[in-house]
Every structure is written in structure tokens, then in C-alpha cells.
């Protein structure tokens, strides 16, 4: 039945949609196919998540070649959770792109945009669902190559440079990753993740395995923009088309975090990573520096997209901080923040896309008096900003809660104080927007009164609503994160 093949279809549908959009060539048709593919993946992801919650992990043998010989697709509590986030955000951004991409891209390139978008979605979903370390590399390349193109489509010529930067660093990251996987293959003779996990303990302390861990860590950290490997991110986010920024910010780095979690807690195992090596300490220090410096740098940006790009680097720091605690609360915080930050940043970048459409770009000089000119957009940014800070009643609070709880449980009061203090920096940079939008008089760059086109505004506000919804109803976000954390610490893949 079709349900049996859902894990394959989850990836195959957007993957097939990509050449279809290329053949259709008409922007409207390409858009319709893209949306249909994304909606299909989203529904499939929800069904898979429900199935996993009900009856445990699903293993799917691609082409009926049983693992570890064939490629296995594996959906468990952690990957199902990330699949829902990626496919959900893909759907929202696809809906948003109808007007946004049409306004920002040349007409004749529009169908190519959708082709690349479908490829990128397929790549990210594939990275999440696959249970094979080399197959993961293939999907990582699909997602990366398509995202280089997507970023380069930005109107500003600097997008080309940003894309090039990302290409260089992204390729180095992917190379490091594949070198690490190669070493693991040498040491164990398998590429299947579950099989790797089973075989690694026998060779755990050998030098190639430790080197593999280092290579994978650095490679994936480049892709997830862990400080100080984040240098590609601000430019890529700032100059990419609005829809692309929103999609990448909400999903691409999150999937890389997922890969890191997968390798640390499934492949290498908490024992090796946490107890024997100082990964925890290194990650902790890097996270702290990421949070503090990126938040402070965000404070001084003149462009809102860059501001929130640096804020993303800081927020990724919170996620890796949760990972570095390696406790149940810490991992719950990390996974929950993956989701909560994804929807929050998605909402902010979609709203900024609306602003960019009306003003050309999103410098602070263009948003003066925006509260009057675009009241719903401004309010949305403020609400999503509150979620970014972690005010109770918003999604961001839930992950902050677990993060501070994790710090207190570990007896690290200074860490709890640090988290709170850096949240105050977030208050400051969100406040800069409030100051400009509500307290400054309208300037020369301020648009006439009027909102972004309705489809854009509605999609963005659905995400803003999600920021509030998931602040109260945590039966999916926190519950799913808790289950994922249990899975990771329990050792059972």
C-alpha cells in the first residue's frame, strides 16, 4: 500500500517535482507543482510522525535491499520531528514565494527558482530521513548545490559573492564530512548508521574513529554555522531572495544540527562523545562565544536581514549549548529550539520579505514609522521578536525554559545567568526595530501606507500565530523533543 512507501515518497515526490517544474517552464504551473509536492511531503511527514509515535521507528529498505546492504530510510522520534519542521516550513515558504519570488526575480528565471527549491527541499528531507551515512552526503550535496543557486538568484549583485563564499565553505564542510564517513567505513566496513552504531564500540578508541569524529564535527559545524565557522551565513541570508532566506534560516541549519545530533548520539554514542572526549567542553565554549558575540554584533547591524542573520548564529549557539549539556533537559531544549527557532525565524524573514517588497531593502532607514505604514507586518515582527527573546506565551519560551532548567539541574547557576543576560541582548536588538518602527517619525525611505500582498501576509501571519500557538500547546513541540531526547540518551536508535 501507499502508506508503506511513505518514507520513500516523502523525498521522491519533491525530487521528481524538480524536473517536472523544469519541463513545465511556466512560472504558475511550476509554482503549483512545487506547492503540491511540499504539501504532500508535509502530510506524509505528519503521518510518519503519528505512526512513529504510535508504534516506534519505521525502517524502509529502498528497492527492497535489506539494510545494511541496501540504503535504509529510517524514521524515528528525532527524524520525524525534523521532517515535520522542514516540510512544514517548505510548504509555508512555497506559498509565500508566489508573490515574493515573482517580485524579486526575473520572470524568465522563475521556473528555475522552483526547480532549485524542490531540489533543496528534497535534499534536506533526504538528509533527515536517510539511515545511510553516505546517502546523507549525497543529499547534503543536493541541498547545498541547490541552495548556492537559490542564494545567487538574489537581486543584489553581492548575492553572487555571498553564494560563492557559501559554496567554498559549504564544499569544505561537505568534504570534511565525507572524509569522516570514509574513515568510519575503513574502520567498520559499513555505511548504514544503525550498523555503524553497532560496530563502532569495538573500535571506538582507535585513531581513525577519533579522527572521523573530528572531521564530521568540523564538517557539519560548517554547515550549521557554529561559531567561528559561521562566516558564510550573514551574507548568504542578507542577499538571498526573501523566500530563500526564510527557508534556509528555518530549515537548512536545523537539518545540519540534526545530522550532528545523529552522529553524536546514534553513531558515536553518548559514551564516547560525552564521557571520553572533551567534545562537551569545546561545544560549550563555542556556544557561549557564539551567543555572546553574535548577539552583540547583531545589535550593531544597519540592515534588518543581517541583524536577524547574526541573531540566527546566536540562536544556533543556544541549540548547541543544549547539546553540550548532554542531559535530558539540555537535549530537549536543543531539539525544541530547533523547531521553535525555525518557525520564529521563518516568520520574521517572511515578514521582512514583505517589507523588502514595499521598500526595496530592509535597512533601518527604511523601516522608520513602519508601525503606521505596515501595522500588521510590524506587529508580526514584534510578536516573533518576543518569541526570539523567549517571553512566556511564545514558542521561544518553551525552549529557553528547558535550557535554563538544564543549566540549573547541572548546578551551573552562572550558565542560567548567562542565558538570561544574553536574552536581554535579544531584547535590545528587537527593541531597535520597535524604536524605528513605532517611535521614529517616518523618513524618506518609509513606504506609503499599505501592507504586503495578502498571500504573503497571510502565510507570514500563520507562522506568527504558530509562534504563539506553540507557546501554549506543546504537545507536538516539547513532547516530540522530549521523546527525541529520550531516544538519543537511551541509545536505542
Amino acid at each position: 500500500m501507499i502508506f508503506e512507501h511513505l518514507p520513500a515518497l516523502e523525498v521522491a515526490v519533491p525530487l521528481v517535482a524538480a524536473p517536472v517544474t523544469l519541463l513545465l517552464r511556466r512560472a504558475a504551473a511550476a509554482w503549483a507543482v512545487t506547492v503540491a509536492a511540499c504539501v504532500f511531503s508535509f502530510v506524509a511527514a505528519l503521518l510518519l510522525a503519528a505512526a512513529v509515535a504510535a508504534q516506534g521507528p519505521i525502517s524502509y529498505a529502498l528497492g527492497s535491499w535489506p539494510p545494511p546492504w541496501g540504503i535504509e530510510y529510517r524514521v524515528d522520534a528525532l527524524s520525524a520531528f525534523v521532517l515535520v519542521l522542514v516540510s512544514g516550513m517548505a510548504t509555508a515558504v512555497a506559498l509565500f514565494a508566489w508573490r515574493s519570488a515573482a517580485a524579486e526575480l526575473p520572470r524568465e528565471q522563475l521556473y528555475l527558482f522552483y526547480t532549485m527549491y524542490c531540489l533543496c527541499v528534497a535534499g534536506l528531507l533526504g538528509m533527515t530521513i536517510t539511515g545511510d551515512a553516505f546517502n546523507l552526503f549525497v543529499f547534503m550535496e543536493i541541498a547545498s548545490l541547490s541552495s548556492y543557486v537559490l542564494i545567487a538568484l538574489g537581486r543584489d549583485r553581492r548575492a553572487l559573492l555571498a553564494s560563492y563564499q557559501y559554496l567554498i565553505l559549504g564544499t569544505i564542510g561537505a568534504t570534511f564530512y565525507v572524509i569522516g564517513v570514509g574513515m568510519l567505513y575503513l574502520a567498520t566496513g559499513t555505511l548504514n548508521i544503525a550498523d555503524l552504531a553497532a560496530r563502532l564500540p569495538q573500535v571506538a578508541d582507535t585513531r581513525p574513529v577519533l579522527a572521523a569524529l573530528a572531521f564530521v564535527t568540523v564538517g557539519v559545524s560548517l554547515k550549521l554555522a557554529l561559531f567561528p565557522l559561521h562566516l558564510w551565513l550573514p551574507n548568504a541570508y542578507a542577499y538571498a531572495p526573501s523566500a530563500v532566506t526564510a527557508f534556509l534560516a528555518a530549515t537548512a541549519t536545523k537539518v545540519s544540527v540534526y545530522v550532528l545530533l545523529r552522529f553524536y548520539f546514534t553513531v558515536f554514542g553518548a559514551r564516547l562523545v560525552v564521557e571520553e572526549l572533551p567534545v562537551e567542553e569545546v561545544l560549550l565554549v563555542l556556544s557561549l562565544v557564539a551567543i555572546a558575540t553574535a548577539s552583540l554584533v547583531a545589535l550593531w547591524q544597519a540592515d534588518l536581514k543581517r541583524l536577524f542573520a547574526y541573531s540566527s548564529v546566536a540562536q544556533i549557539g543556544y541549540i548547541t549549548l543544549g547539546i553540550s549539556m548532554a542531559s535530558h533537559a539540555g537535549l530537549t531544549a536543543a531539539v525544541a529550539h530547533l523547531f521553535n527557532h525555525g518557525i520564529t525565524k521563518g516568520a520574521i524573514f517572511l515578514l521582512l520579505g514583505g517589507v523588502a517588497l514595499r521598500t526595496g531593502r530592509v535597512g533601518f532607514d527604511r523601516v522608520r514609522g513602519l508601525g503606521q505604514a505596515m501595522p500588521l507586518t510590524s506587529l508580526g515582527i514584534v510578536i516573533a521578536g518576543l518569541s526570539l527573546i523567549g517571553i512566556p506565551g511564545t514558542a521561544g519560551f518553551i525552549s529557553k525554559w528547558y535550557l535554563v532548567l538544564g543549566a540549573i539541574e547541572a548546578g551551573r547557576w552562572w550558565l542560567a545567568a548567562f542565558i538570561v543576560a544574553t536574552s536581554l541582548i535579544a531584547v535590545a536588538y528587537v527593541w531597535r526595530f520597535v524604536e524605528a518602527a513605532y517611535l521614529a517619525p517616518a523618513g524618506a525611505g518609509t513606504p506609503e501606507r499599505g501592507e504586503a500582498p495578502r498571500p504573503m501576509l497571510v502565510t507570514a501571519w500563520i507562522l506568527v500565530g504558530a509562534c504563539i500557538w506553540f507557546g501554549f500547546d506543546t504537545s507536538f513541540s516539547a513532547e516530540g523533543a522530549r521523546r527525541a531526547a529520550t531516544l538519543m540518551l537511551g541509545g536505542a536508535p
Partner: protein
């Protein structure tokens, strides 16, 4: 109706009212009718809850479970009842006053004003009825956010800089201190539900840790305006006077001291705190705030600023009384929440009436104004006497209990602070009354009469309430007594 639905009604009535007010924005008379109707309905709902609470019930409404063991829920106990009663009752009077003030001064954005006001009341009801620290915190933050457009109402530079301080101090203190305090409480006690006797008893925190946690709460609750987190209160005086009257003399500041009392009684536990001695530093800070704020009030020529600092000082009376940790002083704290509310709203009403009728804002301009505005200034005099604590006005009762509580606990320095501050109260209020009635009017003042009728009616009503309060003090006393664990 049973308790739960009534609580839901108390939260929803002002929220729905806000929507109706917004919908009726184009027809001012309809809009004001919606405000008054909502206020009256809310008061009726709160009154319907009163007999249950007096009978010792605790009506509850469990709403949403956010995380396991952590929920948004509401439960009404005596202190919350008292606060809800005061805030909802005074909202009616304040609405009448607002109509006179906003129309008399031809203020802009009146629809936004009434909408935010109704939302602020919804948040206040949430604060009053919260069943746990999380719910309280949520409503507390909401109250800050919905009152912000009211503070920056005029939209000029002064309003903006006032709004900046308002939001900065209130939001900053709550995120920096209150939020960690809440999470630490959860980590220590495993629950955030308010319960008689406190929830930290079994947590085994050391006296120093308890003191630290208490400090996080006390300075995190910026709305209680304990120095040095009091700066937002004078800054908020840029708002139109009805906002200062209801929000910054009743709802917002009382939400602050209400939370202080609630946290001391239901989170820490009075006996627990007294046994550990972890609250010993609090009377010192509160006493300092009382005296320092009184001195600033004495030196302020701007009338609203003087009233604002008087509020800062009076709020610390409540904190001081609660910090003494004896039943009588806890009851006094609760009672003072009500007594100060009635008196201070009268004073702000009078200040707004003076501004509307005469355009005067400074104390030094008020010579002889009592002859032109006898009702207003008589009401002002009554409010002032009440705050000084002269019988039979409302403030006397709570002050008397405070003195008694301090004496019974043997806190002699506290007695000294209370006496000294009473003198200071007299020193900054009585010259105004003296100037208004006994000095001749200045040359060159434009002739004017009383403020518009709704305003005068409102302030006369609250002044009368100050006067008759002690004779009808049974209900507040019963509620305050129930809180302090005194026999009724």
C-alpha cells in the same frame, strides 16, 4: 453559574469588550457605552464571585497544560478577590472620568485608548486570579505590553522617552530577575502552584539561597516599584491622567504589590520565611524606599510627579508590611492595597480635573484654586488625609494595622519609619490643600470653573468612598483577615 465559568467570564468580558469597543470606534457614544457596559458587567461578575470566596471556597479554572505539571490555570483566593474587586469597581468610576477627560481635552486616538484600557483590565483580572507563578507572570507581562500604548498615548518626544523607560524597566526587570526566579522555583520545588504555606518548604534551600531567590522576586517584580526599579513609575506619568489614575495608582502598581504579597504568602510561606530569617533585608529596602520616595515627592513641583513618588512610597508600605511576616501585617498589606487604591485614584482624578479645567500641572500654580474648583479640591483634601492616615478615612485603618503588626513583632525601627513617613506624607500633601483654599488666587489667571461633570462626579464618588470605607470595611477586612490567617 459555578466558580469556573465565572472566572472565565471575568477574563473574557473585558477582552470581548475590547473587541466591541474597537468595532464601535466610529460612533463615540456607542463606543463609550460599550466601555461602561463592559465595566459594569465585569464588576457584576466579580461581585458574583465574592460570596463564594467569603464562604471559603476557591473557585478554579484549569485552562491549558503547557508542559507536564506546568499549566495555565486560575484560582481565586481572598487576596486576588480583593484586588479584582478594587480594580473592576474602580474601572467603572474611571471610565466615567475618562469620558469627561478624553472629550474635555479633545485627545486623539480615543478608540485605541479605550481598547487598551479594556485589555489592561483583562490582564489585571488574569493577575488577580492566577493559580500559579507562570500564569501570573504571563498576565503580568501582558499587562505591561497592553499599557504601553497608553503610556505613549501622546506620541510626542516626552511620551516616547517615558514609554522607553516604562517598557525597559518593567520588561527588563521581569526577564532578568523574575523569569529566572520562576525557573529556579520550579527547579527547587517541582511545582509553581500557589498554595497556602508556600511551596518551597520541602525544597531544603539554605537561608542564603532563599534570600537570593526572594531578592530575584522582589526586584523582578518591577511593578511594585521597590527602589531602584521604581524609575518606570514617574516616567509613566506622561500618560493621560485617567491612565495614571487607574493603571498607575490601581491596576498596574497594585498588580506589582499584589504579586509581592502573593509570592511571600503562597510561594515562600510566611512561617518558612520567618523561620529562615531570609526576608530580614526586605524591610530595610522597603523602609528606605518609603522615606526616599517621600523626600523626592516633597521636592517635586509637578503635581503628577509628586503623586507618582507618593505612590512609590505607598507601594513600599505594602511590601514593608508583608515583609514583617506576622498575620496582622500581612492583613494590613492586603488592606492597604485597597485603601491606597481608592485614595490615590481620587488624587489623580483631581490632578486631571485641574489640568482639564485650568491647564495647570505644577503645585506652585495652585494658589487659591480651591475657590474655583471647590468639589475637586475638597476631594483632593480627603484623598490626602486618607493617605496620611487620619481617621476616619480609609488609609487610617490599614496604617493602624501596620503599626500594630510592627509593634507586635517588636520591629521598632519599622515603627519609626512609619511615623516619620506619616509626617512626610503630611508635609507634601497639606501645603497643596493649604495653598488651594487659603492663599489668594494669582493675578492674571484665566477664570475657570470646575472640570466637566463626569470628572467631578467620578472624583466626588471616590472621595466619598474614602470617607465611608472604614464603615463598610467588613468585606475587605474579612478578605484580608482570611489571607493573614486571622479569625474573621
Amino acid at each position: 453559574m459555578s466558580g469556573g465559568p465565572l472566572i472565565a467570564a471575568a477574563l473574557l468580558v473585558p477582552a470581548v469588550g475590547a473587541a466591541l469597543i474597537a468595532a464601535a470606534g466610529r460612533w463615540p457614544n456607542l463606543r463609550e457605552a460599550a466601555t461602561l457596559g463592559t465595566a459594569a458587567l465585569l464588576f457584576a461578575v466579580v461581585l458574583a464571585l465574592l460570596p463564594r470566596v467569603l464562604a471559603g471556597e476557591a473557585p478554579a479554572l484549569e485552562a491549558i497544560e503547557m508542559l507536564p505539571g506546568l499549566s495555565i490555570g486560575f484560582r481565586l483566593e481572598p487576596l486576588g478577590m480583593l484586588f479584582a474587586l478594587v480594580a473592576s469597581g474602580l474601572w467603572i468610576v474611571n471610565s466615567v472620568y475618562s469620558i469627561g477627560y478624553m472629550r474635555g481635552n479633545d485627545e486623539p486616538h480615543q478608540t485605541r485608548f479605550y481598547v487598551c484600557f479594556a485589555l489592561a483590565l483583562a490582564a489585571t483580572m488574569g493577575v488577580a486570579m492566577a493559580a500559579n507563578v507562570l500564569t501570573l507572570f504571563l498576565c503580568y507581562e501582558l499587562l505591561t505590553l497592553v499599557t504601553w500604548p497608553l503610556v505613549t498615548h501622546h506620541g510626542d518626544d516626552a511620551a516616547k522617552s517615558g514609554g522607553r523607560v516604562y517598557l525597559g524597566v518593567l520588561l527588563g526587570s521581569s526577564i532578568a530577575f523574575l523569569l529566572p526566579a520562576m525557573i529556579a522555583t520550579w527547579a527547587a520545588a517541582g511545582t509553581l502552584e500557589f498554595s497556602p504555606g508556600g511551596i518551597l518548604g520541602g525544597a531544603g534551600l539554605s537561608p542564603a539561597a532563599t534570600a537570593g531567590l526572594l531578592a530575584l522576586y522582589m526586584f523582578g517584580i518591577g511593578k511594585a516599584a521597590l527602589m531602584p526599579v521604581h524609575r518606570w513609575l514617574p516616567a509613566a506619568m506622561v500618560a493621560p491622567t485617567p491612565v495614571s489614575a487607574l493603571l498607575h495608582a490601581v491596576a498596574v502598581v497594585k498588580a506589582g504589590v499584589f504579586t509581592v504579597v502573593k509570592v511571600i504568602v503562597y510561594v515562600f510561606g510566611v512561617d518558612e520565611l520567618a523561620a529562615l530569617g531570609s526576608a530580614d533585608w526586605l524591610p530595610v529596602v522597603a523602609g528606605f524606599t518609603i522615606l526616599a520616595a517621600s523626600i523626592v515627592a516633597l521636592r517635586s513641583d509637578n503635581l503628577k510627579r509628586r503623586l507618582a513618588y507618593s505612590t512609590v512610597s505607598q507601594l513600599s508600605y505594602v511590601v514593608l508590611a508583608a515583609a514583617l511576616l506576622v498575620p496582622l501585617s500581612i492583613a494590613a498589606a492586603a488592606l492597604h492595597i485597597a485603601a491606597h487604591a481608592v485614595a490615590k485614584i481620587t488624587l489623580f482624578f483631581a490632578a486631571g480635573a485641574i489640568y482639564t479645567a485650568a491647564g495647570k500641572t505644577e503645585v506652585s500654580q495652585l494658589d487659591g484654586i480651591g475657590r474655583r474648583m471647590p468639589w475637586t479640591m475638597a476631594a483632593f483634601a480627603l484623598g490626602a488625609l486618607s493617605l496620611i492616615g487620619i481617621p476616619p478615612a480609609a488609609g487610617f485603618l490599614s496604617k493602624w494595622m501596620m503599626f500594630q503588626g510592627a509593634a507586635s513583632a517588636g520591629h521598632w525601627p519599622v515603627l519609626a519609619v512609619l511615623s516619620l513617613s506619616t509626617l512626610l506624607n503630611a508635609a507634601y500633601f497639606l501645603p497643596i490643600v493649604h495653598a488651594a483654599f487659603l492663599r489668594p488666587p494669582r493675578e492674571g489667571d484665566a477664570p475657570h470653573g470646575e472640570a466637566p461633570l463626569p470628572m467631578v462626579a467620578a472624583l466626588t464618588f471616590t472621595a466619598a468612598a474614602t470617607l465611608v470605607f472604614p464603615f463598610f470595611a467588613g468585606i475587605p477586612l474579612a478578605l484580608a483577615g482570611a489571607l493573614g490567617g486571622l479569625a474573621p
